[in-house]
Symmetry: C2
């Protein structure tokens, strides 16, 4: 390499202290998902192209693979990188159905790739964290409440996050309401949903005009469609608000019951920072959801759009004989973290795992310094020995630059004459390598947001 390489747009990489934050987050998510009985899996990065193109509207974003010296008979042209974790999970469920127990709860934290134009919150390579519950033939509604609660629990524990709002809705409610208004299921209903989905971007007046002009709705019907989309509530009072619009349909009743159960089922998780609210404008565009739908907005980061989305699929996968219904949520980990890092300086308080730098008096005493490090590591304390026997002042500055909080000065004997210095306070005390430990908060790096205060992950 003859010159300094430059970053590739859309492929964000983290510095070591930033990566420590990402690792803290992944550990927290995994801990919560496992507490709730979700098993971790990973799927291969590639899928056959015909699988990837089933969701027609994202096909343009797929990266295809070919081998450098590929011959035409090899057929690798048929593989592409996955652009989400749902398509590979559905394939995994079908492929391994005979070896899985249902309902199958799984989480999956992996990179995905999309050939999109990069911008804030949108990358060509990024990490998603998905949870899904999938059943065989049937999947009771209580799993919709379960996955919402699990993701809210996980997000709540990421205490460097600003407040957030989980917006929930139900496709049965929307479709039942539209059917009760006389809008035909199928293309015209999809068209109405697609137009209502633009509310955020173009506003109610524009949407109303399009509902009349493009979807052919009467003024009154268009008005009620917009009234429905305007309903929001942090409790089940939305049911009365919908009933007041005077539309009747069995599917609407089912959707109202489910959505009310979901909002009530999450009520105990709500705090000043964490809200779960029914928002009847949420429809998840053209995705194939059939009941519950979720989106999540981060306070102060509304321009990112939804950071955590999902819903219920009545047919996550099917092999023609058996159908596997599922409900799941996908968290855009890179979308949140890379944005927070850029905007707030979110990082960790040290660039290395080491809690202690063991100083080195001279190169000949490296075995003595190594012995101290070995004794500390035996009790789970991450540490490193100074790379060279510089003056102690330089070794302390070496620790400072890395954010290592303690410097250890080895004694002349295995247990005598040792000193340890907290380089933040300057306090230096006698210590025994066999028993000393740093305060628990100093054992691992901590998440810090320079623009706000220090936070523990």
């Amino acid at each position: 390499m003859a010159a300094k390489p430059t970053p590739l747009s859309g492929f964000p990489e983290l510095l070591p202290a930033q990566r420590a934050v990402e690792q803290h987050v992944v550990d927290t998510l995994r801990h919560v998902f496992e507490l709730h009985g979700f098993a971790g899996i990973e799927t291969r990065a590639v899928e056959p192209l015909e699988q990837l193109l089933r969701k027609g509207d994202t096909s343009k974003e797929v990266y295809l693979l070919r081998r450098l010296h590929e011959t035409s008979t090899e057929g690798h042209a048929g593989l592409g990188l996955h652009f989400d974790l749902t398509v590979p999970f559905a394939r995994y469920v079908l492929e391994n159905a005979g070896k899985l127990e249902f309902p199958f709860r799984r989480y999956q934290v992996q990179k995905v790739w999309r050939g999109e134009r990069p911008q804030e919150g949108r990358y060509r390579e990024f990490t998603q964290a998905d949870i899904d519950v999938v059943g065989r033939d049937e999947l009771p509604f209580h799993h919709d409440v379960e996955v919402t609660r699990v993701m809210v629990d996980a997000l709540t524990r990421l205490d460097f996050l600003p407040g957030f709002r989980v917006q929930v809705n139900n496709r049965k409610l929307i479709q039942g309401f539209y059917a009760g208004l006389g809008i035909e299921p199928g293309d015209s209903l999809d068209e109405v949903m697609r137009l209502v989905d633009k509310l955020d971007k173009i506003g109610a007046d524009q949407v109303r005009a399009l509902l009349v002009a493009e979807a052919g709705l009467g003024d009154d019907v268009a008005g009620r469609v917009l009234e429905l989309a305007g309903i929001r509530a942090t409790d089940d009072s939305f049911v009365a608000a919908v009933r007041a619009l005077g539309v009747e349909h069995p599917l609407l009743d089912e959707g109202l019951d489910e959505l009310a159960a979901l909002v009530r089922g999450c009520a105990d998780l709500v705090t000043d920072r964490v809200r779960v609210e029914a928002d009847l404008a949420i429809a998840r565009g053209l995705d194939y959801y059939t009941g519950t739908v979720f989106e999540t907005r981060l306070d102060g980061y509304e321009s990112l759009g939804s950071i955590c989305s999902g819903g219920r699929y009545d047919a996550l996968a099917s092999d023609g004989r058996t159908t596997y219904p599922g409900v799941g949520i996908s968290l855009g980990l890179s979308r949140v973290l890379v944005t927070l890092m850029a905007r707030t300086g979110l990082t960790a308080d040290r660039a290395v795992p080491s809690a202690v730098l063991v100083a080195l008096a001279d190169e000949g005493s490296r075995p003595a310094s190594d012995a101290v490090a070995t004794a500390l590591r035996a009790r789970g304390i991450p540490c490193e020995v100074a790379a060279s026997a510089q003056r102690f002042g330089k070794q302390i500055r070496y620790a400072e630059r890395r954010g290592i909080p303690f410097v250890w000065f080895p004694g002349d004997a295995p247990t005598e004459g040792h000193q340890v210095k907290d380089i933040r306070s300057g306090d230096q005390t006698a210590a025994d390598p066999a028993t000393w430990a740093p305060p628990p908060d100093d054992l691992r790096s901590r998440v810090v947001t320079p623009t706000t205060e220090e936070q523990h992950p």
Copy 2:
């Protein structure tokens, strides 16, 4: 999806219990690497093609990317998937040199891709775990000892592994010896190393014939080259054995000193199961190592070749002005795990994280069962609530199929009438959701090898 999908050759995927083993292994590696002060990083999956092709001999294995609807002006044809973690790490060091502190210790556990013909231990997508220490301008030799010790420490803690042998050598030793024999540095020296590297495959007689016929060595010189390659020792006695061959060269002296220091520096890690030995036949083929070289063989799995290899590069990276020497080792995680899973049935004792299944008397009492689960989770106990209110016998079999060791029968009051059953022993006792905990060994899944006995990760 209309039919059951079939696996893609060379892209192994794990069932949930197998993935739990892989996760245990990654956690163990990461714990050890961090105890030694190595910072974790991840690099993007793609590199510019010109970076990937610098190591000429693997270029045929690279997967290239292109977007499905790519236009010719976009230039994506210049990106490929990384085939190891060294090329991206070298690029990362150069790109971020101003923001890193040197010596920089990093570990990296990621998937890599090679378009090779799949066979046991060789896949098209696989996970590697790398550690490297990289310096700016210089990197003292003690880091060679450090990385060896760290990887031996990590492998030793994977106690489901059979015994293994870390074979170490030193390129200075080989090159100094060859130079002392009059073999010219450059092409002829490389040719001799390349032929000696075939010893394992074609035997000493064939190699001797090739050394004479292809490399143009005299019979005596070829004989001494083979004598050197025949030297092995588990201590520094190899120094006397090399001296006895009567070859003299300053570079040979340097190599002997370094290799002896490495073997002595690892002596305290050696056990019946773990050996570190000087093996003067190890040369690491055409890789660009300049000093220490490592390979690792797993007892009983010699056909896999080396599972963990690496060495010293005097120029891991260079931007023309500054050179970054490095020393590192790469563990072929998938190579080991996928092979052990196939050959020995290595897996985990449960397919879910749950230690407890909370039974459900009837659908109406789901809130009571959820409350028990919440109480257990608050104290870090992974659990799940039964999916449906089947007969208790069926709920116990549901737990059995997943390998969940305990079934909880909720009482009529928050703290009264609760019972927990160990379904392996059948023992059932009264328990309080606020205080009961499973034995520590049952909290997480355990690694088991059906063909041998149960082991703890």
